[in-house]
Amino acid sequence: MSYIPTREEIIEDHDNVVYERTCLLTDNPLSYCPGCGHGTAHRLIMEVVEEMNLQADTIGVAPVGCSVLAYDFMNIDMQQAAHGRAPAVATGIKRLMPDKFVFTYQGDGDLAAIGTGETLHACNRGENITVFFVNNGIYGMTGGQMAPTTLPNMKTATSPFGRDTESMGYPLKITELIAMLPGTYYVSRQSVHTPANVRKAKKAIEKAIQYQKLKKGLCFVEIVSNCNSGWKMTPEESNKWMEENMFPYYPLGDIKVPK
């Protein structure tokens, strides 16, 4: 009888490997809730940085919010920015290190509330940086408070009876807003909640990183994501809720593509 290799031996034989965790993610266990999209988004960005062989040329900026500790998970040089200020910090880096790949990774409260000014003006100046924007319509780390992207009637810790648009305003479509500015070069909205969407999101991330080399303006990828803890749902319920409620308001796909 011929020898049957063990599972471990099969995996050890590198020719058999069809998929591997990227070496640009550290071994630190992710601090995100099970079911959250942040981990997938981190992985996709780091995979692309690895595939493009950009580790030595990348400087990332982590925000305030759930991904405040992004630098614990990404094996690249990173700076932690004050709440909302990542696009300004990235501007400082890119202007002085124009040949580096510089990106920010921000949530909705960070990018579309406290950092609206920095976001809008970095876009408007056409800073040659890439912005990854994770939009889950809520403040996750702070404990589920209303965000600028919270949907009408959505219940949060600070809108316990639902977001009343008359007194609390409307969800901010900042991605559509910045797509109108001549300083942005590529703007896309994706999600990472199904394998098909993960593949599409990765393509968008690839473009947003690739295009930075052209120095033609800011590249922006929004990832509409779930917050099962903040939304008080199971991961499965939250993904279904996201499809039914978030996607109609924040439709997926490219919003601005290079001519």
Binding site: A56, Y71, N75, Q79, T91, G92, I93, R95
Partner: protein, 368 residues
């Protein structure tokens, strides 16, 4: 031949940062310091030395651009005036927490609020005691001439990188706007990226296989570690207090009375010393050049010699607290200040000194 020019204080510091190898300036216009950004733009820094000059959308954005550049080991700076510096406090606290070197300029105007555009010294507490959140200090340099505005650009960068600390040049509307002759130095070349990588191994220059990744953060959720971080910061401030005190003694050797003043007020008191000597009063001036670290030991020494000290500031009495802490009750310390953008005159401060310490009868003080 020496390169001597007639310049405004704001222009002199702008020229100073270019010549000291600055890599980037990020700022937002505000009176009375807009000449800094205007000068840098007009002189085409990118073409001259490769230095980047960028007008930001706000003071908040400016200081965080400084953060991004400083974290890459670059020589970066911003400048503003009082209300703008208030906006920057968030970023300054983050720079302090991450120990990033940078140069900040405050050309102080009268406050509070929008106040006035005339010179004032009412931001002393904010600059010297740590204006943002958390336990931190900056090195604070107080120029009293246009030459010092120029000189403190290089000195500021040198101190900032020596101690990995923020250095603030605390000027005022008078020093920023007035014109004097300035002697300029040779251009110092900017560091190359390779030199930065070698000199500042902590900088985020891109993770290469020869080192671990560099992370610039002021966050540590573990209070035990956070306390250690804070204790180490305090040790650094202590070391700076022991090694970087700078001051100027003017006619102090035989002084019986002492003015203590910095910046514009020191210039006024310098004249008042001469007037006093003409009146037969043995008066001197101690001019702190570093406001943090403060020349406390020198003042304590002088307290054994003089009969009284008058702290003259264009504020309601801020630095006077440090004078009193320094002399610790050994000698009477009084304060005289003008507010809201008014500068005192030399005879005015001399009269106050006389009335406080020498004459029995109080003067009717000069007011508007």
């Amino acid at each position: 031949m020496k390169d001597i020019r007639l310049m405004k204080g704001n222009e002199a510091i702008a020229e100073g940062v270019i010549r000291s190898g600055c890599d980037g300036y990020f700022g937002y216009p505000i009176t009375p310091q807009s000449e800094v950004l205007e000068y840098l733009m007009a002189t085409k820094t990118k073409e001259r030395t490769g230095m980047i000059t960028l007008q930001a959308e706000s003071e908040i954005a400016s200081i965080h651009m400084v953060y991004g550049g400083a974290a890459c080991g670059k020589r970066v700076m911003t400048s503003s005036s009082s209300p703008g510096i208030s906006l920057m406090q968030e970023g300054i606290s983050f720079l302090a927490g991450t120990e990033l070197p940078c140069l900040l300029l405050n050309v102080v105007r009268g406050g509070p609020g929008l106040g006035t555009i005339q010179p004032s010294q009412s931001d002393y507490f904010q600059a010297v005691k740590g204006g943002g959140h958390g336990d931190y200090k900056m090195i604070v340099l107080a120029p009293a001439s246009v030459q010092e505005m120029y000189d403190f650009a290089k000195l500021g960068f040198d101190l900032a990188f020596k101690h990995r600390i923020q250095v603030m040049v605390l000027s005022d509307g008078a020093i920023g706007q007035m014109m004097e002759k300035v002697e300029l130095d040779e251009q110092i070349p900017r560091l190359t990226d390779a030199e930065i990588k070698q000199k500042y191994p902590w900088a985020t220059t891109g993770k290469t296989p020869d080192r671990e990744r560099n992370i610039i953060t002021s966050l540590d959720l573990n209070p035990v570690k956070q306390e250690i971080i804070n204790i180490n910061l305090q040790k650094k401030f202590k070391h700076i207090e022991e090694t970087e005190v700078r001051f100027e003694r003017i006619m102090c050797d035989d002084a019986e009375y002492l003015f203590v003043a910095y910046g514009s007020s020191a210039r006024i008191c310098q004249k008042a010393v001469l007037l006093g000597r003409a009146r037969g009063i043995k008066v001197g001036l101690l001019r702190p050049i570093t406001l943090f670290p403060y020349p406390s030991k020198e003042l304590a020494k002088l307290a054994k010699q003089v009969k009284g000290m008058l702290s003259v500031e264009m504020s309601a009495g801020q630095m006077v607290e440090d004078v009193r802490l320094s002399v610790n009750g050994a000698v009477p310390v009084e304060h005289y200040g003008r507010l809201g953008g008014i500068m005192p005159a030399p005879d005015e401060v001399l009269n106050v000194l006389e009335s406080k310490f020498i004459k029995e009868k109080n003067y009717e003080l000069h007011t508007n």
